[in-house]
Point group: C2
Chain length 433, copies 2
Amino acid sequence: MIYEQNINYCLAKSIGSGGLDSSELSYLLEKLDPEFERLKKSYLSDNLPILTLPEVDDLSELSHIATVWRKKFDKVIILGAGGSSLGGKTLCALNQDEYGTAPGAPRIYFFENVDPFGFDRAMSSLDLSRTSLIVISKSGNTAETLVQLLCCISAWRAAGFKDLSESFLAICGPGNNILRRICLRENIQILDHDPLIGGRYSVLSKVGMLPALIAGLDCTKLRRGASEILNPILQGAKPSEFGPAIGAAISVGLSRNNGISQSVMMPYIDRLMVFSKWYRQLWAESLGKKGLGTTPIDALGVVDQHSQLQLYLDGPRDKMFTILMLDQKGVGMQIDPSPADAVELNYVVGRTMGDLINAEQRATAQTLIDSGLPTRIISFKELDEKTLGGLLMFFMLETILAASLLRIDPFDQPAVARGKLLTQRYLADFELL
Amino acid sequence: MIYEQNINYCLAKSIGSGGLDSSELSYLLEKLDPEFERLKKSYLSDNLPILTLPEVDDLSELSHIATVWRKKFDKVIILGAGGSSLGGKTLCALNQDEYGTAPGAPRIYFFENVDPFGFDRAMSSLDLSRTSLIVISKSGNTAETLVQLLCCISAWRAAGFKDLSESFLAICGPGNNILRRICLRENIQILDHDPLIGGRYSVLSKVGMLPALIAGLDCTKLRRGASEILNPILQGAKPSEFGPAIGAAISVGLSRNNGISQSVMMPYIDRLMVFSKWYRQLWAESLGKKGLGTTPIDALGVVDQHSQLQLYLDGPRDKMFTILMLDQKGVGMQIDPSPADAVELNYVVGRTMGDLINAEQRATAQTLIDSGLPTRIISFKELDEKTLGGLLMFFMLETILAASLLRIDPFDQPAVARGKLLTQRYLADFELL
């Protein structure tokens, strides 16, 4: 078992009026029966690629590129926005942070913004002869990503590099799009982005796998973790036995019946901080339609105990909480109390830093529960590729199932087109600015 | 003028039923009259130190420490949680990012979590002979900060350093607290944290100033920017003429009358990303009491256009937006369209990256407004220390004034004590875990 999900403290029988009635939960779970049938059929007919992605045979080709790049380059830039960035970034966070990378791995930077100050500082800090670049855009027409690429091409040219085919690579959808035309002209290798996979569901595709392989992750294990979460659906499990379905029903039920408008995702571990950002896009873009959906909020324990907990406990009762707990008992430095010599610190004598964070995550969950706030606990024994792959699949399925209950299409994002058009108009007609 | 605040698009007369009635705005602003009198009196009697902080004469002492440290050290670790970290981190973000620091400045790391994995990786990446440490806790009893410190002392000791007085420094409140006792015993210099200044209001005190000076910021300009925002209150301005009062009345009014439960802070510039996190604590901890307050949400343009905008535009209409716009027209690399050769990209021909982000921020604001969502625009011509100091004071005053309208104490955080007690109990009685 990759994880355990405990939803008891989201129910009225445990926490009182802030919780969901068990009968409502059962009702919603039953409504998911036909969706389970649809998912099984989609898997068999292969028309919903995120279900079959864990089994795609593309890792050897990608590994080959990754192996070469790991030798040739110290830094890798990933250009992309939203779904083209957050999946890979989430995976890479398992093997790199601001203090270092896993042995042998280049440092991977994700350029997500078009802030000229940050861009200039980044470019001037890099030795371009030891830096490579992956540009990702499913549509191939994302303005910010194209502008980033044009500026990077200029920077490489200005530094004297004529042949970009050695150090640039693109992932984009097929057909006639701008990114593809630029790459063909510049002799940049292109990998095809499956047009049936939306950006925010692309983490297990090459969009996430290539950065992860460069960062040194075991992508077979990642996908195995994802498979393990999905399998019960394919093997005929009922919604009431399936974690992501239970989570979806709890979320939708609490939103509909208990005034819950916000969903706080709070892992207790630095390596999952970007995971919360990935979840934030997944949930927001998939469900925020027709006035429906709840607002996902990313938090990090123990940091946000010192920033947000006051609001969570004593502000409006409009949030549900998902605490992601890693068991770290006994892990890390032992706390040497001798410099402290303080009676008040007796409780940490001989403990480790892992003991402390272990106690903190449980104390926070208990405090939320004692206040009658709906709190789901997802706990796991270790955080490796398998766990992370499982968590990613868990929340993709939960999101798709929640959309089914809301009768919403989880794969489109109709409302953002207007902003893109306006940006173009403002740029084109500069006098209006 | 440091900034311009435009609140027209928060009002019903501009955006329809999602906006606040002008009469309600006037009513709330009038209710702030007595609070303005109180603030003036507090300033004159010096019993609310954040008002007089911009004039405190402590920068020369702090500059002396900073000058020595900038020469002796390549890295500086700051230990602290919440208010002990977010202020300094917000300031330092003006002069450092993941790609580098301002010339001559050490890299400053903020250790906020007690995740053993991250802590170990950080410690093993550092050359301790070139690394110094500032530990900050107002109470002097924050468990996580004390454990971080004990582990750092062990690490320095293990690396052969006997005398910590050269490279460690503490900021903590007066009186008999654990941190002070450790420092006295270890011969670590202590600077006093003013007991009247709460953590989340401490950014302009030495808690923020010392890291900022080490990072190379002009702290006189920072405080001058703060003064400039505060001055109109001291000079007898009315609430209806005062930006932070108008902002407070809009927020409280929209929450009370228009179902707004969330406040999205969205700067369009990387250097203000941490500012949004600082705001998040300030607003959440100050107002999230007695079932009141709204949930602050940090977002970053253009990144979150590709992650959250779908929800903002088409999900529940429960958010107000504050867009922080920096004018970057003409700034940054010019976009060379020759590799593109795409008719569809004609609109960026000859533009700069700054032009693009300029158009994006305005396009997003316009899109929100066109959807009838309450949108406040705060714009400024440049982002330097003066602007940042002004923004910090603006939002501290807005928060205090909003608390006044809600009849809440903006300076306490009564609900978090229980979680702290539980953590201790869990650690003390480990069998229960």
